[in-house]
């Protein structure tokens, strides 16, 4: 169990940057940069253990109860 103070938030983990060298529409950029679902309930998000091992992780957390269901390494794919 680690203190919440050691972690820094990195936002929605399901957002993917559009592929390099691909023709990208304004809408795709909008979805990447600005548009977010931000729903009540289960939410996959990025956290960094900034005052510790400095690893980025993906966390599935409930945005209403803060219950954590699952964690993944940053390079592991979320299977929805």
């Amino acid at each position: 169990m680690r203190s919440q103070n050691e972690f820094s938030y990195g936002g929605d983990a399901t957002v993917k940057r559009p592929d390099l060298n691909k023709e990208i529409s304004d809408q795709e950029w909008d979805n990447f940069v600005y548009n977010r679902k931000s729903l009540r309930g289960k939410h996959w998000e990025l956290w960094q253990h900034i005052s510790g091992c400095r690893q980025w992780i993906k966390v599935e957390r409930d945005t209403a109860t803060h219950e954590i269901f699952m964690t993944l390494k940053a390079n592991e794919e979320i299977s929805l």
Binding site: R40, E45, A64
Partner: protein, 418 residues
């Protein structure tokens, strides 16, 4: 409607105050309305009031999941100001200041608007320059702004830390003397009472379950108290915007975050204005009851919890104690949290949507309360005329697509960073 006056007060005193009318009714929803406003908070109630008053549209329902005024209009730190640099924000907010000044008379309800001034403290020469620039912008837009030096600030708030050995010494500050506070619940109740008297149905305990949309047009809303038809529907649901957007199949440039506030035990008058710390995010004022009212940063991650966690509160109050050391002696009376609709550039959205007849009012971030009258006024205009007013033309939904962001603080899209 009974007018609230000294004569009616005396008259009712003789009847032991048993004969006052209800401030608003509890109607059963009709099958159809001209306009349905979702969300019975400050903005929703103000919108309904201005629809009736300015546009003569009275066949209106406000539907509210809980009770009116139970969300952010009842949870904020009651600060009212228009100290913005960008024209769109400044002109919109200053228009609101005018409505605030007239509100108690206009609503026949004492909202206790108290223009006691706000001071943003500066802690470096660079910050003084930034404030001078913002102050000049404000004055060009007709808003009062005064740049204070260290001694002038000391005269107004002698209890702040003016000692030499501090991490963030006070260099001066930017003051808007006409800014202030108001009784937040009274704002909701005042708008509700007047809207009700002009024929608006205030329907509480009525949750939106879904929407009836066909051919790109809105036809009505499905609620826990039955289907309600309406050609025009306005969303004023603040922290629940993302939840309703999901039901509308829309993805918005909004994240839902938690913001905390707190009050200390009541003490004798010590602070007569609003003061903000310039080296972090902390603001403070003293309520008429004597409590020190304080707030600051978001908790920093998407949240619908409506209650905060302690690390953020500790961080915020550390800033407060750095600014005004006497705060460390006070006991905390109460802390609470509310969920904010944080937009990706820190400015709100008041606009039409791609669905005909569906209007959006959201993205109020830290500043929803002070915007209540201007938001209601411009949203009512947008709904009634089916076009935005020039005051809210900068608050468009597609500005994120066109690049016309309104990033007052220059923070970018990371809403959780404050």
């Amino acid at each position: 409607m009974q007018k609230y006056s000294i004569f009616n007060l005396v008259k009712n005193a003789f009847a032991n105050h048993q004969n006052w009318d209800l401030a608003w009714k509890d109607p059963t929803p009709k099958k159809e309305y001209d306009v349905v406003i979702i969300g019975g908070g400050g903005h929703g109630l103000a919108t309904a009031y201005y629809l009736a008053k300015e546009h003569n549209i009275t066949n209106v329902a406000i539907i509210e999941k809980g009770w009116i005024g139970g969300g952010n209009v009842g949870r904020n730190t009651t600060i009212i100001r228009s100290n913005y640099m960008h024209d769109d924000n400044a002109l919109f907010s200053e228009f609101g200041m005018d409505l605030w000044r007239k509100m108690s008379q206009d609503l026949n309800y004492n909202v206790m608007f108290s223009p006691r001034g706000i001071i943003n403290l500066a802690h470096s020469d660079a910050q003084m320059n930034v404030y001078a620039r913002r102050g000049n912008s404000m004055r060009l837009n007709g808003i009062d702004a005064v740049l204070l030096n260290r001694e002038q600030v000391r005269e107004i708030i002698p209890m702040a830390d003016f000692s030499e050995n501090v991490r963030f010494p006070i260099f001066g500050g930017l003051m808007q003397p006409s800014a202030g506070t108001a009784r937040h619940d009274a704002v909701a109740w005042g708008y509700a009472r007047q809207a009700d008297s002009m024929g608006v149905d205030i329907i509480q305990n009525c949750e939106v379950i879904g929407f009836d949309i066909s051919g790109g047009k809105i036809n009505g809303v499905r609620t826990s108290r039955g289907d309600i038809k309406a050609k025009k529907i306005g969303l004023c649901v603040a922290g629940s915007t993302n939840v309703l957007a999901e039901k509308l199949n829309m993805t918005l440039p909004i994240e839902t975050h938690l913001l905390q506030a707190c009050v200390s035990e009541p003490v004798k008058p010590v602070l007569d204005g609003v003061v903000t710390f310039g080296a972090g995010h902390f603001y403070i004022s003293q309520s008429d009851k004597g409590e020190m009212v304080m707030g600051g940063d978001l908790d920093g991650y998407n949240s619908y919890a409506q209650r905060g966690n302690l690390p953020t509160l500790q961080h915020v109050l550390t800033e407060g104690i750095a600014m005004m050391p006497f705060l460390s002696k006070l006991k905390m009376l109460r802390t609470w949290g509310g969920i904010m609709d944080m937009s990706m550039d820190g400015s709100p959205i008041i606009d039409k949507t791609h669905i005909e007849g569906l209007y959006l009012n959201c993205g109020w971030c830290y500043g929803g309360f002070k915007a209540t009258p201007a938001s209601g006024w411009t949203f009512a205009h947008t709904i009634a005329q089916d076009r935005v007013h020039e005051l809210n033309s900068g608050y468009s939904l597609n500005r994120f697509n066109t690049g016309h962001l309104l990033d007052e603080k220059g923070l970018g899209t990371k809403t959780w960073i404050s």
